[in-house]
Amino acid sequence: MTAEEPRPGPAAPLPDAGGTPAAAQPATAQPANASDGEWLRVHPASPFIRGWVALAAIAFFFGRDIFERSLQGRPVFEEELAGRASWLLAGGGMVLLVSVLGFLLTWYFTKYQVSGGYVRVNTGFLFRQQRQARLDRVQAIDIVQPLLARIFGLAELKFEVADAGESAVRLAYLKIDDARQLRATILARAAGVAVDPAHPEKPSPEAPEFQVLSVPPQRLVGSLLLSEQSFFVVVGGIASVVLAAATDSQAFYFYLIPAGLGLAASYWGLFNKGYNFTAAISPDGIRLRYGLLDTQAQTLPPGRIQALKVTQPPLWRPLGWYRMQVNVAGYGVVENAGEGSARTTLLPVGTLSDVMGMLALVLPDPGTPQPAVVFGAGLTGLDSDGGFVTTPRRARWLAPLGWRRNGFAATDTALLFRSGRWWRQLVVVPHQRTQSIALHQGPLARRFRVADLVLHTTPGPVVPRLAQATTEVALSLFDEQSARARLARKRQTTEQWLRQVVPGDAAAGTGPVAGPLEVPTPLETPTPQQQEGGQHG
């Protein structure tokens, strides 16, 4: 990527690019199509940044002792130790040397290459491992910057590939500019932008992007304060105070201390993750950025979102806030609201217009002439608003609260499931993302002549399930949805999203985002808000 000289052509032999020290090692057992693949190394400081915890622990362990001794005016070493100081020093030096050597070897044997539609990553010197990932199967790319890496201007590139079980490929750490460049290259290849045969080394330009929304910090704080977690905190706090007063015992307060610490850590984690959340759109897909100390920039290429849900807990209702979560292949299931759930969150907290804006990004073609009405009814509506078909009245005892909300609506491009009277929820599944469909009916449901319909998607927080639909309705939806999914799959034939737009197939609905960008030229135009540099620089 760093070579300047133009190559004669793709048929040129592979050898190292001469000038770049990183490309000293030519590929050994690579397929012949590695036309533009140099083997590159990650930044030499990477193992130290990854292993800093161990180094810091050692430093802390010895440092504290020496510090305390010197504070107390004692000699740094005890008398009987002083005689053996040289041995101790030698031993410590050996340990340090071995770990540094290990770090260096790890670094030396970690190499990566982008070529011929694949990214390959080699790691390990005792147990060597080669991973290769098909670029057109890239589901999402993240640039992660933990605090320490951020201080040194480094970043980890992490991408999910829907190829095999263990899917994440990580490159840690690269210089932030290199990471961004590599991301642009991978996304351009994944999108099907042709490599200029005259200049295969010419870096792909970064796609321009436009910021769509951001979450102000006060709203984030408000959403944390009004979360279910806070509700239980208040209830738990009141309960322990009452118990302490009733039993005249102070012991309850002791239990509150670790609980309070845990809660503070949890709130801090959520705040740190969700701080400064912004969403932007680019031809590469949706860019999400967030984080206070550790920052993360996620890119979801178009059409990679398998399913989406919009939820509103009851405490958020007076403020009109919503949360959006997505299923992306490779992100997997995240149970609690802690660490990894940020990755599956499309919008941590947003207003109705934010939600509609994000929906427009995910589904450029809503498939209905009145998207605001249909999706609005999905968020807040009851009964048959917006064309929703709900649970029949006869089955209201199966869902005494939710029966007027439980329902579905189908647009030309997506299926909408609505549920929850108090915990409102709207699930959106694009038709071409349906994996398989199942109808379920238990004895009680059979008695009320209703059935559940389940759409299967990739693992994630969204589980699309239509509860208690009339049996006939469920059965016809089962057939219609199979047909719709089949049609949608036929329209979308390639994973390379810039090549998806087939002439004369206007209904394919890749929409205004990917539509006019078959060639990389518009990518090179400067943009009003090239705001990435501002955030990472």
Binding site: R137, S436, A438, Q441, G442
Partner: protein, 170 residues
């Protein structure tokens, strides 16, 4: 097979081999006989006068309940096996199971990532196999047990060929 309420109309279901009942009964025996015997141990000890504590009625009731529920499940097996059906449609494979908790599933050929065949020891003795379909979703828990080995192989080849023709990405 009787068509149930949630089955799409006009489908002729393929049934699995009746011999699969034997497989299920062996599984049932492995799971239940040991349980009932262990639960009956206190009864024996009480009757022998070694133990005093569990009153006789309790010592009788626990294994009796376990036995009745096990027998009930045993009695259901033939009907459950008869309720398993599959049908190859033009674009998807339908699989149905269950009598009380029924499930009908449609797995599009283009979504199948791989198909595998498993054969357990009892199944091998009876010349049966179990076909499992995998899509990108773990929710697609579609398997057709109790297929005759030849039919399983045919179905696997058929599904692979159809999947190849209609393969879509995620």
């Amino acid at each position: 097979m009787r068509t149930e309420a949630i089955d799409p109309p006009g489908i002729t279901w393929q049934r699995v081999s009746p011999k699969y009942v034997t497989v299920r009964m062996v599984q049932w025996a492995l799971a239940n006989v040991a349980t009932v015997l262990v639960l009956a141990l206190p009864l024996v000890l009480v009757l022998a006068g070694v133990w005093n504590w569990p009153p006789l009625w309790l010592a009788v009731a626990v294994p009796a309940v376990a036995l009745v529920s096990a027998l009930w499940r045993l009695a259901l097996i033939p009907r459950q096996v008869r309720a398993i059906g599959y049908a190859e449609r033009d674009d998807d494979l339908l699989v149905r199971t269950g009598i009380f908790f029924q499930r009908t599933m449609a797995v599009p050929y283009g979504r199948m990532q791989y198909v595998d065949i498993g054969v357990g020891p009892v199944e091998r003795g009876l010349g049966l196999c179990t076909l499992k379909l995998h899509t990108a979703s773990p929710g697609t828990n579609a398997q057709i047990p109790g297929l005759p080995a030849a039919e399983g192989a045919r179905l696997r080849e058929q599904l692979a060929a159809r999947g190849e023709a209609r393969l879509a990405g995620l």
